[in-house]
Each structure stands twice: as structure tokens, then as C-alpha cells.
């Protein structure tokens, strides 16, 4: 038997990373190994988000990691992507927490907020003392957020918000929500507001019997004539383009993250099939098994290098929304396939929480759909290729 080559050696991207990027990756990987990995299977089974990790994630500096100033470290897109990658190698739900806090809520305030809003919220959010959620999706409006029913009506120096939001990560634990509402009938009237927990008429609800992202908090927001001040409106956000740019930003972290889960599944499948003997030989010596492993490695290696290339473009400010769609769609698809194949390669043990692959597979079903479904991203890419909109 020859010495096996690791997936890491096959991707060989270490030589393409700066010293700082390698250090960020190593530090996050270590945190994940020591603090997250030992508890994650239990958290998922119990449907509990490990809230005790929030201040630790803050101290590590992941939250708001790619933002500049206001207590944020200002990392490159590559370094932030690698941090997402390592966190999701443990669990997609943990990475989702980081993504929502960073790429949706903090990014929205950083890009569209007033100076006072940035000073008030961003340092607290970077430290993990304030948790945010992002209210865009509604019960009847998922892929077409422009059709949202939530309305904001002017009331002197205040606004009155009415409507409901669903599938909101962090909803029940959030201290603040960035809520998107229309002030008129068209998409150009979409406006963002910071709503604080405890505001009268504002409440969060659970989504029961969730079979994916069980170690993450997902819920609904209800707005019943909630009064917020004009100072809570995001002054620079004008129209549907504002929340969509937040999504575009978050999709990048999702794309990098899911590869971490795919890598974890593939590594588990390789280790398992090398150790498991059937018909007198290790499973890894069977051609059918090797073909599955080779197919998975193929996709993971390609996707890793594509992600790195696109991340460099993002750092140069040259990444287009169509490229983000391509990346998110590709990576979520191959990660889900890798998790399902790994689950099968582990046989009966594959369904046990102790081997993690089925947890990843269940989580990745959500990543396939959230932040723009697989199909919506096909339409974005299709429109970019042909100039024809098929929505």
C-alpha cells in the first residue's frame, strides 16, 4: 500500500495563501476543534444553539470579520471565507449564525447605516454582546422578496411597521432585527429599519419540528403596529437593491462555508472506508467505493480553487453577482452530493450522529435552498449569459 495523500495536499491551496490567511485559518480551525466539535452532535440532537460560544466567537474576532473599523478586524475576503470554511467543517448552523451576524446584519448597518447607528451597534455586535437577525423573507414571499407585504407608514418623527417575516436565522435570540418593509407599492420603496427586541408589538416565534440546522436558531418575526423612530431607519438603503446586496455578500460566505462541510464528509468517508473491512478486505479497496471517493474529491478540489479565485476577485472589488451565483449554486450542490454519498459509504453507521455525515447532509439541504435557491441562481446566471430574464 502506498502512502495516502490528504485532501489538503490535493487541493494544494496553502501555497496560494498569504501568511496572515494561513494564520487566520489555523486559529479558527483550532477553536472549532477544541470548542465546537466536542459538543456539536449533542446540540444538533437537542435542537439547541450553543449560545455559550457567542462571546468566544466575538473574542476570536470572526463576527464582522471582513468589515473595516468600528471594532471589526478588516480581514480580506479570502481570510473571512477560510474562517467560514473551518466553522462549517463543524456545522452549517454555526456558520449560519456567523453569516447572519456578519454578512447580513452588520454589513447592512455598515453599508447603509448612519454614523450614529454604526457607532452604537457594530462594536457591540463584533464582540458578540448584541445579536442580530435579518428580516427579509416572508411566509408568502421567499424567492420574490419584491412582493413583500410588510409595510412601513410614516407617523410624524416615527414609523409604524406591520407584517410578518419567516425563516429568520437568530430570530428568537436577536437583540436587534434589520427589518425590510415597503413604504409604497413598488420595489423602490423597500426601506430598512433597526427594530430592537422589546419594542411594543414586536415578537419572535419558533419554527417547530425543524429537521435541518438544528444547532441554529430559526424563527418568525411578527410586527403589529411597531413604532420605530426615524433615527432607526437605515438612511442609505433605497429600494430592494439594498437587501439584495446584503444577500450577495452573504452568499459568498455560504459558498466558502459549505466546502468545509463537504471536506469534512469526504475525509470521514475516506477514513471510514479505509478502516472498515467487508468480504475480508477494506472497503477502500473496492472499485465502486474508490469511484465515489474520486468523484467527490474531483468536485471538492475544483470548487476550492474556484472559490479562492473568486475570493481574490472580491478583494479587488471585481466579483460580479453572476459569479457569486455560480459559486453559491455550484458549491452548495456539490457539498450536498458529497454529504449524501458519504452517508451512503458509511452504511448504517452513516445515520448515526457520532459520524457527523448525516447531520451535514441534513444541514446542507438548507444551504441548497437558502440565500437564493439552486434554481434562482440558475436564473441569475442564465440572465447573465443570455441577457434574457426568465424569472
Amino acid at each position: 500500500m502506498s502512502t495516502p495523500v490528504s485532501l489538503e495536499e490535493l487541493i494544494a491551496w496553502t501555497s496560494l495563501l498569504s501568511e496572515e490567511e494561513r494564520l487566520v485559518r489555523a486559529s479558527v480551525a483550532r477553536f472549532v476543534r477544541d470548542r465546537c466539535q466536542p459538543i456539536i452532535a449533542g446540540c444538533f440532537e437537542d435542537g439547541e444553539f450553543p449560545k455559550q460560544l457567542i462571546p468566544e466567537l466575538g473574542a476570536l474576532g470572526v463576527l464582522g470579520g471582513n468589515l473595516e473599523g468600528y471594532g471589526c478586524p478588516g480581514m480580506s475576503a479570502v481570510a473571512y471565507g477560510l474562517a467560514c470554511h473551518e466553522i462549517e467543517a463543524c456545522d452549517s448552523g454555526l456558520r449560519s449564525f456567523v453569516s447572519v451576524q456578519t454578512s447580513l446584519v452588520m454589513y447592512a448597518i455598515h453599508r447603509f447605516g448612519s454614523e450614529a447607528q454604526k457607532r452604537k451597534w457594530l462594536p457591540e455586535m463584533a464582540a458578540g454582546r448584541v445579536i442580530g437577525c435579518f428580516g427579509l423573507t416572508e411566509p408568502d414571499h421567499g424567492s420574490d422578496p419584491g412582493g413583500m407585504k410588510t409595510r412601513a407608514k410614516r407617523d410624524g418623527d416615527f414609523w409604524r411597521l406591520n407584517g410578518s417575516k419567516l425563516w429568520i436565522t437568530n430570530a428568537q435570540i436577536a437583540d436587534i432585527a434589520v427589518v425590510w418593509a415597503k413604504t409604497g407599492d413598488d420595489e423602490k420603496s423597500v426601506t430598512g429599519f433597526i427594530v430592537e427586541r422589546g419594542a411594543e408589538g414586536f415578537s419572535a416565534t419558533d419554527i417547530p419540528r425543524k429537521l435541518s440546522m438544528r444547532a441554529s436558531v430559526t424563527g418568525g418575526l411578527s410586527l403589529d403596529d411597531v413604532r420605530v423612530s426615524e433615527a432607526s431607519r437605515l438612511p442609505e438603503a433605497r429600494g430592494l437593491g439594498a437587501p439584495l446586496s446584503c444577500l450577495n455578500n452573504a452568499r459568498f460566505g455560504v459558498a466558502f462555508g459549505v466546502l468545509g462541510a463537504a471536506r469534512a464528509c469526504l475525509e470521514q468517508a475516506i477514513a471510514y472506508t479505509m478502516g472498515r473491512t467487508q468480504f475480508g478486505v477494506p472497503l477502500a479497496r473496492k472499485q465502486l467505493v474508490q469511484q465515489e471517493l474520486a468523484d467527490m474529491a474531483n468536485e471538492v478540489v475544483k470548487a476550492s480553487l474556484l472559490s479562492l479565485h473568486f475570493a481574490r476577485l472580491k478583494d479587488e472589488g471585481k466579483l460580479s453577482p453572476a459569479q457569486v451565483s455560480l459559486l453559491k449554486r455550484n458549491n452548495c450542490r456539490i457539498a450536498l452530493e458529497a454529504a449524501r454519498k458519504s452517508r451512503a459509504l458509511l452504511g448504517a453507521n452513516g445515520v448515526s450522529g457520532d459520524y457527523h455525515v448525516m447531520r451535514h447532509a441534513m444541514n446542507l439541504e438548507s444551504t441548497y435552498t437558502y440565500e437564493g435557491t439552486n434554481e434562482i441562481h440558475a436564473l441569475i446566471l442564465g440572465r447573465a449569459l443570455t441577457g434574457e430574464s426568465a424569472f
Binding site: 502512502t3 494564520l23 489555523a26 486559529s27 474576532g61 480581514m75
Partner: protein
């Protein structure tokens, strides 16, 4: 207080090593490196002492140019500046101690903190040799008198305490704990149970980019590092044979007597 702290790059203990074609080296292609875990503990202790007594932590390493990564890790943990002695060839503990002697003479620190050993060569020599060459007191294997789960760790009671020009060092000895008092300056080597090192936070990794790494070479320090220890051959430990199951204690005793010959 000025603290000099040594850090060594070692091969990642989680990676399986391959022996080079010459049988006298480790194959280095695609090898992953980490900071020697004992040195990481020394850096953590140095930072805690600096935070308590003010002053600065200087980290020093010897190795090829990319050892800067391990120095950068120590800077990201909180060290103030770094010294790198660039040397790509072979090196033994004596060469390291003689290089560190020169750095000590230039920097004149109040205390030198070093890992008690490096997990690659497992020689345990560099600390005691340095103390000897400098004519300084040494306290090796600094530890704690309780386990890390104890209230002491929770309260961050240190295994090394410095008051004035005296350091009190709790150290592990065979079968117990010993407490030493040494006059500063001194060389102190650190053991595993001294502390739990921090993770470099991402903002500190960014800040570490701007900290100084000063370069030297053995030539610029005037040290001949030709190794005195010669490596004859590396070999992997023999593969373990599979165990056997015995039916009862009588069979076990028979095997211990006739095959293993450990009882008569």
C-alpha cells in the same frame, strides 16, 4: 520587565512523517508546521507576566525564512516584537543555545522563557545549555501544583511568580511538586500544565502584520553552528503486531511463562 521567549517550528504532530531518501532526514515536501506546543505555553506565560509587570515580550526563533509564520503566530498571541535567525541547514541544541546566548547578550532580558523540549527532536537540551553558557540560574519544567481543572487555574494563579529580582517557580519533579526560588535574570523552561495558551484572535493576527521581525544570521552573530551531534539514520518504529485473545487466565499465564518469558 523584558522577557525573551524562544519559539521553534516543529512538524505538525498530527501529520504522519515520511523519511527522506537519504534516511537521515524527514521528507519536507508538503509538510505542515506548527509552533512547538511547549513554546506556545512559554509565550502565553510571557504575555501574562508582561501584562502584570509591564515591559515587553521578545520572541526569537532559528530556522529557514518561512519560520516567520511561527514568529507571526507568537506576535498575534501578543508578543511585542520578534527576532529571526535565518539558518536553513542542520542545527543541534548546542548551536541553538550558542545563538541564543548572543541574542541574550544583545537584548539583556530579565528572564528567558523556553519550552522544556521541542516535540520533534525531544532533546530537552537547549534551555539548560543556554543557562550554562550564560552562567545563569535555571528552573526547568515550570508547572502548577494542581491540575488545570482546579480553582487555581480558574483564578489564573500562575506557576511562575516574579517579585523584585526573584522568581518563584513551581516545577514537576519525580513523584511530586517542587518549589524553587531563582535569582533573576534566569532561564525558565515550561511544562505542559503551566497554562492553556490563548488562540490568536483574528484582529490580533491583522495587527501582528505590522510588528517588527528583525533578522540575523549565525554569521552576523559570529556563531559557528556546525552540529556536534551527527544523525546516522532515521527509521520508523516497527509496526505493532496484532494482539492475541486468550481463553482463560491459565492460558494467559502459560503464554507469559513460555512465550513472553516475563514470569517464571
Amino acid at each position: 520587565m523584558k522577557i525573551l521567549c524562544t519559539v521553534k517550528r516543529v512538524t505538525d504532530p498530527e501529520v504522519k512523517l515520511k523519511i527522506g531518501a537519504d534516511q537521515k532526514s524527514i521528507a519536507t515536501d508538503n509538510l505542515k508546521y506548527v509552533l512547538n506546543p511547549f513554546d506556545e505555553i512559554a509565550v502565553e506565560e510571557a504575555i501574562r507576566l508582561r501584562d502584570k509587570h509591564q515591559g515587553e515580550v521578545i520572541v526569537v526563533s532559528v530556522g529557514p525564512s518561512d519560520v516567520s509564520t511561527q514568529l507571526r503566530t507568537a506576535l498575534a498571541m501578543g508578543a511585542d516584537r520578534a527576532i529571526q535567525i535565518v539558518h536553513a541547514g542542520e542545527l543541534d541544541s548546542d548551536g541553538v543555545a550558542r545563538l541564543l546566548q548572543k541574542v541574550y547578550e544583545q537584548e539583556k532580558p530579565d528572564v528567558v522563557l523556553m519550552g522544556k523540549l521541542s516535540v520533534d527532536n525531544d532533546s530537552w537540551q537547549a534551555g539548560p545549555l543556554l543557562a550554562e553558557y550564560l552562567g545563569l540560574p535555571q528552573a526547568t519544567y515550570a508547572s502548577k501544583n494542581d491540575s488545570l481543572e482546579s480553582d487555581n487555574e480558574k483564578n489564573k494563579v500562575p506557576g511562575i511568580t516574579i517579585e523584585g529580582t526573584t522568581a518563584t517557580v513551581v516545577r514537576e519533579a519525580d513523584g511530586g511538586i517542587e518549589t524553587l526560588k531563582v535569582q533573576l535574570p534566569a532561564v525558565i523552561t515550561t511544562d505542559l500544565r503551566l497554562n492553556i495558551p490563548r488562540y490568536p484572535s483574528l484582529p490580533n493576527i491583522m495587527k501582528a502584520k505590522k510588528k517588527e521581525i528583525k533578522e540575523h544570521t549565525p554569521q552576523s552573530l559570529g556563531v559557528d553552528v556546525t552540529p556536534k551531534v551527527r544523525v546516522l539514520k532515521f527509521e520508523l518504529p516497527p509496526a505493532r503486531k496484532a494482539g492475541v485473545k486468550v481463553a482463560d487466565s491459565a492460558e494467559l499465564l502459560a503464554k507469559l511463562r513460555s512465550e513472553a518469558k516475563v514470569i517464571s
